[in-house]
Subunit: 606 residues, 2 copies
């Protein structure tokens, strides 16, 4: 048995910010050293952030990442941390196509097509890599083998797959290092790690949160640990980045599947634990083909004088709705912070969607950073004002009121000579005056505007282009309406349990939903009941089921045709919106596009 | 020698419209039969349209395509065309993973991960296929081997690669059928076609237009014909589809590289020509591994009684600027038609961008389908009105005038209690009142709104979100400013040469560009001269070059830093725009994304 004190640094990296990400590594490496760690690891692409997307095709960025990882090794040594092996994810490239690609790939890499790059290979041959840093140098390197290319992932566009397995001897332990998708593949590097005799499998991840994904990860980690015949450490990024949220929730399991440690959800964390590791007797002279063995430290940091064991750690777990709240709060907060904004603005209608967005924003940024504007029109109900007032009072946000009737009237009068406004045009005018007003505030005071549409509305096109769809971030774009209500009730109950004022007015939760763009209007004039709509959307949009599958799943033909018609028509509406724009149906790692076109109608499949 | 009368049907298919696309095939097959063809071929994915994107992941759509190709075979027979072999592109799927995928792929296809599909394989195992239809049946099938996944292509997401080569004996000739990217790959199916003894290489394409791509294609076809040792027919789609334009320009070359025929550019065409083909002596009993040989017709349609040869065809070629004009006209026209619009609207500022868009729209749709609205503010110059009037008179479009000062004043007054408007906010207000006005027309009368921003402006963020960026289609989004002027002069010269009235007012071409959002403003107050800007953007955005490469290319450091700063800041501006939206920098098959993020600044690479 060898004992290894392992530190997993679950940090919040920012795409493109090499300097800040390197500083994050140095800071957490220092903490790990202070805790007596023999090894500290950081997540997939920690140095560049994940997802880098097209940045991987810019030579200057790849070279900057290569330079930064070398500099980081030197800086760690200068910090006095040179003896501590540090594993970091970063962006590298194939430097020697002849030997580092397999024969077929090398042949393709040699057949340049044009300035867009090499046929079948991303330009510049970038790779998603892990490096082991020690004594001021990069002493070993691993390139991800399996590149996910579904859902939110497009890694075939951005990376060249690696081929060799890395086993690094650290503190006398043979550690196999793999990256994210490598773990999900049957017959992938895990099998080779066992063949090679690895004693610990370290997996660096940039694994976005999805609802209920956590248990999938644990079950997978347990299965792979058994296959690898050694403990497995699953280390994940944390933080919001663009339209993804990484939830952390790193975990360590023993070879027999026992959960040894689990990190915080939706927050940075440094997990430190002692592992007792059997010696699997890896023989560097008799390794399977394609395994690189590198000796970093051939013995524990303090051989013979074992320190007191660090306790097994498990953080408090969030409940399912609490997870969604945490994801929304972190996603919004990081989008604002990482894009250099300091405050947000939104229209407050008195309805549940804007109330929920306001409450999330206040949790993420504090009330002083959130401006809510009541924008009543001549069709607005009395309660649209009073419920907005109530919300403002409960949350303490910056509250303003701007009646929009004068601007709407100016349009109605100004356009009357040139066109006859249709009823729909009149409804949309109100929403667009509100959007223009919010953008005037944004331009004048620097707010990021938040759009308040939920996933149910967006899927069926129940919103106004350039109106309520205005905004740089739409916190609810992947939250169906039924879940909107559930989140509001959950948050209020949390507040009550803590003896605080519930942020969301009860009337906003209980009243009948309405866009209030004409007198007496309700959502259900145009849409099926939300419990039916949301269930159908889950099957039709997210599950990509066809009409016959929907009928087989028990939906009534009439409802199927109504909802399918609405979703397909919404796609047509989006054709009127902004050059080349496709609305994403997703925040959280589910399907990326609404897979509908103007001409294919699911009704045709009858 | 065997003689084969080959018909290539270069048609304009619509994504998702299986019914209309099948009708297109039947119509052109009838024409080919009337011309005495022994074989008629249609482009890649003609039955479904290309690109289908996420539709390939919908089971119901894949099944509809599979059903449609069978139905098409029966319908052709019912049309009396059953004896004519017809080759069509369509969407199919792997039906038997065990035998149709290679061992590694089959192993992966067996390891389901979750409802999003199989690890490493698109859900449902869709394939980009060609079918040979004869006597009411699908008699042979080929699945594309090489899947492009760069630039505008994402085929690794959407298709499973094929493995076997198809050689179909048609009219006594052994025809190898491959699809698009298969031709670009060194060591791809072309080599195997030669080994198999193919006598004609038929390539079905969905190959988007790029500037100067035509010559690349001809040179490639000549090289591959030599490698295949037989004539090569390169058949391409035509038409606009979403943000791509397919230019047709199909071509046939002899084994020695001689150009035998070339189809129309940017228009449907049916190329019919007689090929004298040597018999390469393919032996069905001695084929290389992985080659499927299917006998469709073992002899010519009219053996012994050769018909008079059809003349070699070559259509008139467009000049380089004429190609751009044709692409813009076809792209706009098809976007409007394929999305079910009948008319378009745009704001006319008197400037060159809106004048050019109006002229393109009038060419594409006719003057009665184009509404131009002059939207003068209190800062608009006299010539902004008179030049717009002049354009309207020259083109005959539907012309209206709506002064925006009353709406702008209503905003200024209505917002004054709640905020202090910044100068930029005041400028943007004007643009947003214009956008709202155009959308009111769209909602009332059904116009598609056209955005008039050019690529130079969009790249540096010199436009107003929800203002002049409003619109469902931006014809100039991939046209840099210098090319805007060149196109205007080209179109006017064409008109003059034909004795027609030039559509674009000379003053719109010659005056100093200005957004006219404050008194005396010109573009060059904020931007470098356009000849410098455009050149830099070509290197920095399209070519993805870094700072050191730009300096090495001879740009001055000051200009590099200015433009790079503008482009990077524009990416930040886009973060304020619409949930999850990434602006495409491309119409025509160049780079797909502006590869910049908020945190990576090219200036850092100093």
């Amino acid at each position: 048995m060898t004992q290894l004190r392992l530190a997993l640094a679950q940090v919040n990296a920012t795409v493109g910010d090499l300097t800040a990400n390197a500083a994050l590594v140095r800071e957490h490496a220092a903490s790990a050293a202070a805790a007596g760690a023999d090894l500290v690891a950081f997540p997939e692409m920690v140095l560049t952030g994940y997802p880098v997307e097209d940045l991987s095709l810019r030579t200057s960025f790849v070279e900057a990442s290569r330079t930064a990882v070398q500099q980081l090794a030197r800086d760690l040594a200068a910090d006095g941390l040179g003896e501590l092996p540090v594993v970091v994810g970063y962006l590298d490239r194939v430097t020697d196509p002849e030997t580092q690609l397999d024969a077929e790939a090398a042949a393709r890499a040699g057949s340049g097509r044009d300035e867009r790059g090499v046929v079948g290979m991303p330009k510049g041959l970038p790779q998603n890599c892990a490096a082991v840093l020690h004594r001021g140098q990069v002493v070993a390197r691993y390139a991800k083998h399996h590149l996910p290319n579904y859902g939110v992932f497009d890694e075939f566009r951005f990376f060249v797959p690696g081929r060799d397995l890395l086993v690094a001897r650290i503190g006398g332990v043979d550690v196999a290092v793999v990256i994210c998708e490598d773990l999900w593949q049957d017959g992938g590097p895990v099998e080779r790690a066992r063949e090679a005799g690895a004693e610990l499998l370290l997996v660096l991840n940039g694994s976005p949160w999805e609802r209920d994904k956590d248990d999938t990860r644990l079950a997978l980690a347990q299965r792979r640990a058994a296959e690898a015949g050694c403990p497995l450490a699953f280390l994940n990024l944390v933080g919001g980045q663009d339209d993804l949220v990484f939830d952390g929730d790193s975990l360590v399991v023993a070879a027999d599947g026992e959960l040894l440690a689990r990190g915080a959800q939706f927050a940075e964390d440094l997990l430190v634990l002692d592992l007792d590791l059997p010696q699997n007797g890896l023989d560097p002279q008799a390794l399977p083909a394609g395994v690189q063995h590198v000796v970093v430290r051939d013995r524990p940091a303090s051989p013979g004088s074992k320190r007191p064991a660090v306790a097994v750690v498990e953080r408090e777990r969030l409940d399912p709705v609490g997870e969604v709240w945490a994801a929304l709060q972190l996603g919004l907060g990081d989008y604002v912070r990482k894009n250099g904004f300091r405050k947000v603005a939104l229209g407050l209608s008195g309805g549940i969607d804007s109330a929920l967005v306001a409450a999330i924003a206040v949790d993420a940024l504090g009330p002083e950073a959130v401006t809510g504007i009541s924008l009543p029109s001549s069709y607005s109900s009395e309660h649209s004002r009073t419920d907005a007032d109530d919300l403002a009072e409960r949350t303490g946000l910056d509250y303003r009121t701007i009646p929009i009737a004068p601007m709407v009237d100016a349009f109605t009068a100004g356009l009357s000579d040139a066109m006859k406004l249709s009823p729909v045009a009149e409804e949309n005018l109100q929403a667009r005056v509100r959007g223009t007003t919010l953008m005037a505030l944004s331009n004048s005071e620097g707010h990021l505007v938040l759009a308040t549409s939920n996933k149910s509305e967006l899927s069926v096109g129940y919103s106004t282009l350039y109106g309520d769809s205005v905004g740089g971030y739409a916190p609810l774009k992947d939250v169906p309406k039924m879940l909107v209500w559930e989140l509001a009730r959950w948050r209020n109950a949390q507040a009550e349990a803590r003896g605080e004022v519930p942020p969301i007015p009860e009337n906003s939760i209980s009243k009948v939903p309405s866009a209030e763009l004409r007198p007496g209007q309700t959502d259900q004039d145009s849409l099926p009941p939300y419990e039916v709509l949301d269930d159908m959307l889950e099957h039709y949009v997210v599950g990509a089921q066809g009409r016959s599958e929907l009928l087989a799943a028990g939906f009534e033909a009439e409802v199927v045709d109504e909802v399918v018609g609405l979703v397909d028509r919404a796609e047509w509406k989006r054709r009127q919106f902004a050059p080349g724009v496709k609305i994403s149906s997703v925040a959280f790692g589910r399907d990326r596009r609404l897979p509908i076109t103007t001409h294919w109608r699911e009704q045709q499949s009858r």
